[in-house]
Amino acid sequence: MATTTTYSSSEVVYVPRAGTLYDTLELILDRGMVIDVFVRVSLVGIEILKIDARIVVASVDTYLKFAEACNRLDLEATSRSTTIPELFGGKAAKAVGKRKVKKTIESVGDKLRDVVGGSDEEDEEEPEERPRRRTAPAKSGGRRKRETE
C-alpha cells in the first residue's frame, strides 16, 4: 500500500496513521467506550469475517504447505534464514507459490468486501489489503535486495 511507512531498517512495520484497518480493526470493534443507552450497529458480519480468516489460516492447505517446505529442507545445506518460498525450489516454483498466495489473498479480500462492505453496490473501494508479510515471496525478495545493497 502506497501509504505504508516503515520507520526503521528492521522488519517491524508501523501501520500508517491513515488508510489501513488490518492492525486496528479489532481495537475499533472490541475496544473503546460503550454507553449502554446508545444503540450499537449490528456487527454480525464482522464475527463471520473473523472466523473466516481463522479457517483460512488453520486450513489443511497451510499444513500441507509447511509439510512440503519441511520435506524439501536440506538440513546440511540450508542456512537458518531460509524462507518458505525458497524451500519450494526454483523460479518456476516461486511463481506458482506467488500465484497461490495471491489467490488466497484475493479470496480473503473478497470475503472482507462481502462482510465489511456489505451488499452496497456503490461501494467501489478496494477491499482491505492483507499485510505484506503474508506474501512470503516478497519478503525473500526484500532480503535478497538488501544483500545486494
Binding site: V12, E26, D30, M33, V39, F66, R80, V116, D123
Partner: protein, 251 residues
C-alpha cells in the same frame, strides 16, 4: 440519504478544537459537530441509515479519532455507537462528567501503541533441528510419503511455530511494559500469539519503537512483530478494572 443519530465518535474536553475539514461516517461523509455539556463534549455527526460496519465507515471512525487525539486527550467510543437523540447524549455527558474528566486527565499526553506477535515462518531449519518430534514426523513423511503424513507433519510444524512464538512473546511484554504507563491485553486475533496495547507517554513513543525494533531483531527466529501507533487510546478509555482489563504499571 436518510439519517439517524447522532453517531458518537468520542468524548473530549469542552474546549477541544474540532477541525473544520474533518468528516465522519456516511456517504457523503457527514460534517462533525460538538455537543458540549459543562467541561466535556461529545463529538458527533449524523449517522447513515442503515449503519453497517463498512470499510469506509470504519476508516472514517478511525480517522476522526486519530485527528481528535492529536489535539488532546480523547475518549474513543467503540465503532457504531448511535444515540437516540442529542438530548440523550447531553444527559449521558452530565451523568458521567466526573468520570470522563478523570479519564481525560489520565490519558493527557499519552497514546496507545498496539503490538502483535505472529509466529516467524522463516526459521524452519532451526525448528527441525531443535524439535525431535518434528524431525520424527518429517522422517516418517519422507519414508512413507502421503497426504496424511504430510498433514500431520505440517500441523506439528504450525503448532510448534506458534508455541515457540508464544513463549518468546511472554518475554517481550515486560520489556515493552517498562516503557509504558499501562498495558491491556487485546482481543484474540487470528494468527497472532500476542495482542497487547500499551499506554505510552507521547515523548516516549520513539523510545518504545526502538524497543520494539530491538525485540524484533533479537527474536526474529521466533516471532514477527507488528506494531501500530500512535493510536487513540481505545484500550484505556474505561476506568481501571473495566472490561478492557488494563493493567497499570504504576509509572
Amino acid at each position: 440519504m436518510t439519517t439517524a443519530g447522532p453517531y458518537v465518535y468520542g468524548i473530549v474536553a469542552g474546549d477541544h478544537p474540532l477541525p473544520a475539514e474533518l468528516r465522519g461516517v456516511g456517504r457523503p461523509a457527514a460534517p462533525l459537530e460538538s455537543l458540549p455539556v459543562g467541561a466535556t463534549a461529545a463529538v458527533v455527526s449524523a449517522a447513515p441509515v442503515p449503519l453497517r460496519a463498512r470499510r469506509r465507515d470504519l476508516l472514517a471512525h478511525q480517522e476522526v479519532l486519530l485527528r481528535l487525539a492529536l489535539d488532546g486527550p480523547t475518549l474513543p467510543m467503540r465503532f457504531g455507537m448511535v444515540a437516540p437523540d442529542a438530548e440523550t447524549v447531553r444527559e449521558q455527558l452530565r451523568a458521567r462528567q466526573e468520570r470522563d474528566l478523570r479519564a481525560l486527565e489520565r490519558l493527557a499526553g499519552r497514546v496507545e501503541m498496539n503490538v502483535k506477535a505472529l509466529p516467524a515462518t522463516g526459521a524452519l531449519a532451526a525448528l527441525v533441528a531443535e524439535e525431535p518430534r518434528i524431525r520424527q514426523l518429517r522422517e516418517a513423511a519422507q519414508s512413507h510419503p502421503g497426504y496424511e503424513a504430510n498433514v500431520r507433519l505440517g500441523e506439528a510444524v504450525v503448532h510448534a511455530l506458534e508455541r515457540r512464538a508464544a513463549d518468546v512473546a511472554q518475554r517481550i511484554v515486560p520489556e515493552l511494559a517498562a516503557r509504558a504507563v499501562a498495558r491491556a491485553t487485546g482481543p484474540k486475533v487470528s494468527e497472532a500469539v500476542l495482542n497487547v496495547s500499551f499506554l505510552v507517554d507521547r515523548q516516549d513513543v520513539m523510545d518504545f519503537r526502538a524497543a520494539v525494533d530491538r525485540m524484533s531483531g533479537r527474536y526474529r527466529d521466533w516471532v514477527e512483530l507488528r506494531a501500530a501507533g500512535p493510536l487513540p487510546c481505545y484500550s484505556f478509555a474505561e476506568p481501571e478494572g473495566a472490561p478492557a482489563a488494563a493493567a497499570w504499571t504504576g509509572a
